[in-house]
């Protein structure tokens, strides 16, 4: 494949449904009303020269290169800012236009370094292209006058340079940062000749820039250029693939030079991202080739032995025989597996098949257990399907956006950019979060209401919302009557005084009037959409809260069309997919319970093995059973449970108690310290398969290079199954997807061929919806009637005490990803060298803690130490940290408490104490000394 250059129509598409026909250079063309003359011309194959226009940005009209003549109009209007009118006749090439354009270009070039042949953008520079396009042959002005050629380069960003001497002040970067990304870090400073792009007068790394790359992509010259292109040269071929970081699932063009990956460029036709990206997907791919990667399988008898490199045959044979020995001695159910949300659907599917068909039990769970399992449970109970209701685009039609327990600008940045765009257009925002996240107040965005609740009181707040809706007559009665069931019982429950905003105020800390106002806005403000994250699920009432939000959406009729819905913002890239693929111990692929005889029979026929009708162990149950001695062998696919799971002392005790731990991963990690077999995995650049994002969109992951370890992960799993006496004879991942489609009704129409044809598919995809389903529950709910479920607020048993008077809540930040195994191995570390503890000035003061001090953080289960950052983003009494670095091990302090329905850990509420470290001076040099029951 050669390099893929997407066409640039110059201005964004118009969404008008009225058509207009015009003639461009004698060619008739019909376009939607509101289309620019430039875009109409491009649609008919005529490219008008342009510099300041690009179709990801609104027209600006500054460069004057795109002039045209229009019959009956005076002068030479700019085609980018002139909309078409019916019957218009446009001429794009006349001697007059040619002269004007050459004059414009001459001025640009006269202040531009003429080092094209050695410039990093040579061959990919619009200025160069336009000089050719307008036929520029001479430049009459020399460099003797004033020019910008000596301006200094800003190389502060680790991924791209800013070389102002090459800037033509087209302002595309400034507009991209505002319109596309919504950060507004750049401005044009000065006027006329003095005008210059500036990040508030400071180097980019000191500015508000979040390194999303939108400006780099928009820049028509080499002024903003990826460092990798400067170093490696222009790429020469493209592979279309999907980001492997977060649940947004952005599509990228992986651009290579030979076999070397030069850069990742967001793909305009990507359904999730439509040409945008964040710093992780755009730039942080270096981990894939990091020298820390393990390339050969390794084995050891005891976890105290050194690792021994072995052949694949030996590693797989050893694993199989040890697994069988354990089963012989301790029963079929003594072993199990954990699938990874970072792996492809195909890789996950084969692991759960390995467990069910080759291990012969249902002891398979996934890391989604610790993040979004309550989403699956709650939405299934109420709507009938364990997935979000909308596509990302839907937010553009929302009038009221409610963000609960999510921090999209850090966690789901590309979706946040869409959301912020809609907010700038005038939609209202309600934020429900203990922490003042960036969205509450950021450039041109301000929340109408920020309900700063006490951690652990979500259900009380959502009940109070619903109480207002029901008691103030704001229910959408038609919707409820025709689409739902269980309303009467629920309404009677929710209308009780105990659910009123006034009564719950003392529990939640949110003023009743604020809840009433926010609830009225949600119920009456037009299309209202709920977006939520782990601040909803990772609680003892995570599942209850998901049902509470679903109740609220049903009561107000906010389900089943564009602009509304209940939308989980999923953490990892393939959380949705790993759940869809049957990774839960009670469900076969497609969320069908193992006790369903008919479903089991279908699988048994294809798999040729019988499947147990009883659920297996969930991750926390596996740990409990390991300590009890009934669970002794574990296959872990790409997850660092010894860093990411709560109450690490308990986890490490469990792992230490096991006879065999097999880890399949890119790097040796915390879990592999307890492993007996290490099977090296592949990075997303080597994988061939699919990921499913938070909007149920199945995207292709295409290999950019062959597996560096010599084997695909699905191959390893199949070979392990074969060594256990069960054949899984796939020759290509497409065959795995074909089997998934054959066995899973919601995937019936999915295949690699269909994905290549359609780009991406949002499940359900079947005969009725061959191109997929962007919005769910349109005419009826998946379960038929939407079901109201009463959701009593039950306070968590985790309470502050005199010993542990503060509440710790956890989250993550933009530049890092989960346990950080990948991002810590890239230059993203520049933004987040360590986890810190955010603490309110008042709480800090009474403890004598100053900004940057080293502090201990202790809960009833463990203690760790980190540096404090004084911040008033949290209410008094609440502290906050991230969990990206193993050295701090924030999960040393989180407890065994979990969601009652799914055992999703209660990461968001831990009673803690914070104290200045006694040995602060020496600790300042060594953050993250941790103390726990079992040392690593």
């Amino acid at each position: 494949m050669t390099i893929l250059k997407e066409p640039d129509f110059g201005t964004p598409a118009s969404t008008s449904s009225t058509s207009v026909t015009v003639e461009v250079d004698g060619i008739p063309v019909t376009v939607p009303a509101g289309t620019s003359v430039m875009r109409a011309a491009a649609t008919s194959g005529i490219d008008i020269p342009k510099l300041c226009a690009t179709d990801s940005l609104e027209a600006f009209g500054s460069c004057r290169l795109c002039l045209v003549e229009i019959d009956g109009r005076r002068g030479t209007p700019a085609s980018c800012t002139t909309p078409v009118a019916d019957g218009m006749r446009v001429r794009t090439q006349t001697p007059k236009l040619e002269k004007l354009r050459q004059g414009v270009m001459e001025l640009y070039i006269s202040d531009h370094p003429l080092d094209c042949l050695t410039c990093s953008a040579n061959g990919d520079c619009e200025l160069q292209d336009m000089s050719g396009a307008v036929g520029l042959r001479q430049v009459r002005y020399g460099y003797e006058g004033e020019n910008h050629l000596s301006l200094e380069k800003d190389t502060s960003n680790p991924y791209f340079d800013f070389e102002p001497s090459k800037c033509i002040s087209c302002s595309r970067c400034v507009r991209a940062c505002g319109e596309v990304q919504g950060t507004f870090a750049l401005t044009i400073q000065g006027r006329g000749f003095e005008s210059q792009v500036s990040a508030a007068g400071v180097p980019l790394m000191e500015s508000d820039c979040v390194s999303c790359g939108a400006c780099v992509q928009a820049c028509p010259t080499a002024t903003l250029q990826e460092k990798s292109v400067v170093q490696l040269g222009m790429p020469s071929r493209t592979v279309l693939t999907t980001c492997a970081y977060c649940g947004v699932g952005c599509s990228f063009k992986a651009e290579l030079r030979g076999d070397e990956l030069v850069r990742m460029v967001p793909y305009k036709d990507g359904g999730a991202n439509e040409g945008h990206s964040c710093v992780k997907g755009r730039f942080a791919f270096g981990y894939a080739t990091h020298p820390d990667r393990v390339m050969s399988p390794m084995v050891r008898e005891k976890i105290t032995d050194p690792w021994r490199e072995v052949s694949w045959e030996e590693a797989i044979g050893y694993t199989a025989s040890r697994m069988r020995e354990i089963q012989a001695a301790h029963g079929v159910g003594a072993i199990g597996g954990i699938t990874s949300s970072r792996c492809t659907n195909e890789e996950v599917y084969v692991v759960q098949k390995l467990v069910r068909a080759a291990f012969g039990n249902n002891n398979v769970d996934t890391c989604a257990r610790v993040c979004h399992s309550p989403t699956g449970y709650g939405l299934k109970q109420t709507f009938g399907e364990s997935a979000g209701t909308q596509d990302f685009r839907s937010v553009a039609a929302a009038d009221v956006i409610v963000v609960i327990g999510a921090n999209p600008t850090d966690g789901h940045p590309v979706f946040a950019s869409r959301m912020k765009r809609r907010l700038r257009e005038g939609a209202s925002l309600v934020v429900v979060d203990p922490r003042r996240i960036d969205l509450v107040r950021s450039p041109h965005v301000e929340a109408t209401h920020h309900l700063q609740l006490q951690p652990g009181t979500n259900v009380a707040v959502v009940n109070a919302f619903a109480h207002v809706v029901v008691t103030e007559g704001l229910v959408d009665s038609d919707f409820v009557a025709s689409r739902c069931e269980g309303y009467e019982e629920w309404a009677e429950f929710i209308a009780r005084p105990e659910n009123s905003p006034e009564v719950v105020e003392s529990i939640t800390g949110v003023p009743a009037a604020e809840i009433r106002a926010a609830a009225r806005l949600y119920a009456t403000g037009g299309n209202a959409a709920i977006y939520y994250g782990l601040g909803v699920t990772e609680h003892s009432q995570g599942s209850t809260m998901v049902m509470g939000m679903a109740n609220l959406a049903m009561a107000t009729g906010n389900v089943g069309r564009d602009g509304v819905g209940v939308n989980p913002l999923r953490g990892q890239n393939n959380v949705q997919g790993s759940c869809d693929m049957g990774s839960f111990p009670h469900e076969l692929p497609g969320y069908r319970h193992v006790s369903d005889d008919a479903v089991r029979t279908v699988f048994e026929q294809v798999w040729g093995r019988s499947i147990l009708p009883t659920p297996g162990l969930r991750i926390p149950n596996m740990f409990d059973s390991a300590i009890a001695g009934t669970f002794r062998g574990l296959f872990v696919q790409g997850e660092d449970i010894a860093q990411s799971d709560p109450n690490l002392a308990h986890v490490t005790a469990a792992l230490t108690a096991m006879d065999l731990v097999v880890v399949q991963d890119l790097f040796l990690n915390e879990t592999s310290k307890f492993a007996h077999v290490f099977l090296p995995g592949t990075s997303f650049l080597e994988k061939d398969g699919t990921f499913t994002n938070a909007e149920r969109r199945i995207n292709r992951v295409r290999p950019v290079m062959a597996p560096k370890t010599g084997k695909h992960e699905w191959q390893i799993v199949c070979e392990l199954a074969a060594a256990l006496g069960y054949d899984m004879p796939y020759t290509h991942p497409r065959e795995i997807m074909d089997e998934i489609a054959a066995l899973t009704p919601t995937f019936a129409g999915v295949s690699f061929a269909a994905l290549d044809r359609l780009g991406s598919i949002q499940w359900p995809c079947d005969e009725d919806a061959p191109a997929g389903t962007p919005t769910m529950h349109v005419d009826s709910f998946t379960r038929g009637k939407g079901r109201f479920v009463p959701t009593s607020f039950v306070p968590t048993s985790e309470r502050t005490t005199r010993k542990f008077p503060l509440i710790l809540t956890t989250g993550r930040i933009l530049s890092q990803y989960n346990v950080g195994a990948q991002t810590r191995r890239t230059a993203n570390i520049a933004w987040h060298p360590e986890d810190v503890l955010e603490i309110h000035p008042h709480d800090a003061e009474v403890r004598g803690i100053g900004d940057g001090d080293s502090v201990t953080l202790a809960s009833r289960v463990g203690a760790t130490s980190l540096h404090a950052v004084i911040s008033d983003r949290m209410p008094v009494g609440v502290v906050y940290t991230t969990f990206h670095h193993p050295v701090t091990g924030a999960n040393v302090v989180t407890t065994e408490n979990s969601d009652w329905a799914t055992n999703c850990p209660e990461y968001k509420v831990t009673a803690v104490q914070v104290a200045l470290r006694a040995d602060a001076a020496e600790a300042a040099a060594v953050p993250g000394t941790r103390e726990r029951a079992v040392v690593d």
Partner: protein, 71 residues
């Protein structure tokens, strides 16, 4: 809260707290249904063991539910 409570007892009691607003008999049925749908058989057996040996460790509704669950 106690680290010494056996996991199955702790989990059953946690579930029972969520159903405390329901009449005890329907709560017990709902909890038993939940346990049957989501618990590995060895956990049910373990719970039965605690029902037999330390019924006082279980919340009354959890105890009633446990008695409805087949192991």
């Amino acid at each position: 809260m106690s680290g010494t409570t056996p996991p199955t007892v702790r989990l059953a009691n946690e579930i029972a707290r969520q159903f405390a607003h329901q009449p005890p008999s329907s709560a017990a049925t709902a909890i038993a249904g939940h346990i049957e749908r989501f618990w590995d058989p060895r956990m049910r057996t373990d719970l039965q063991h605690h029902v037999a040996t330390a019924p006082e460790s279980l919340d009354p509704v959890a105890l009633a539910a446990a008695k409805l669950v087949g192991s």
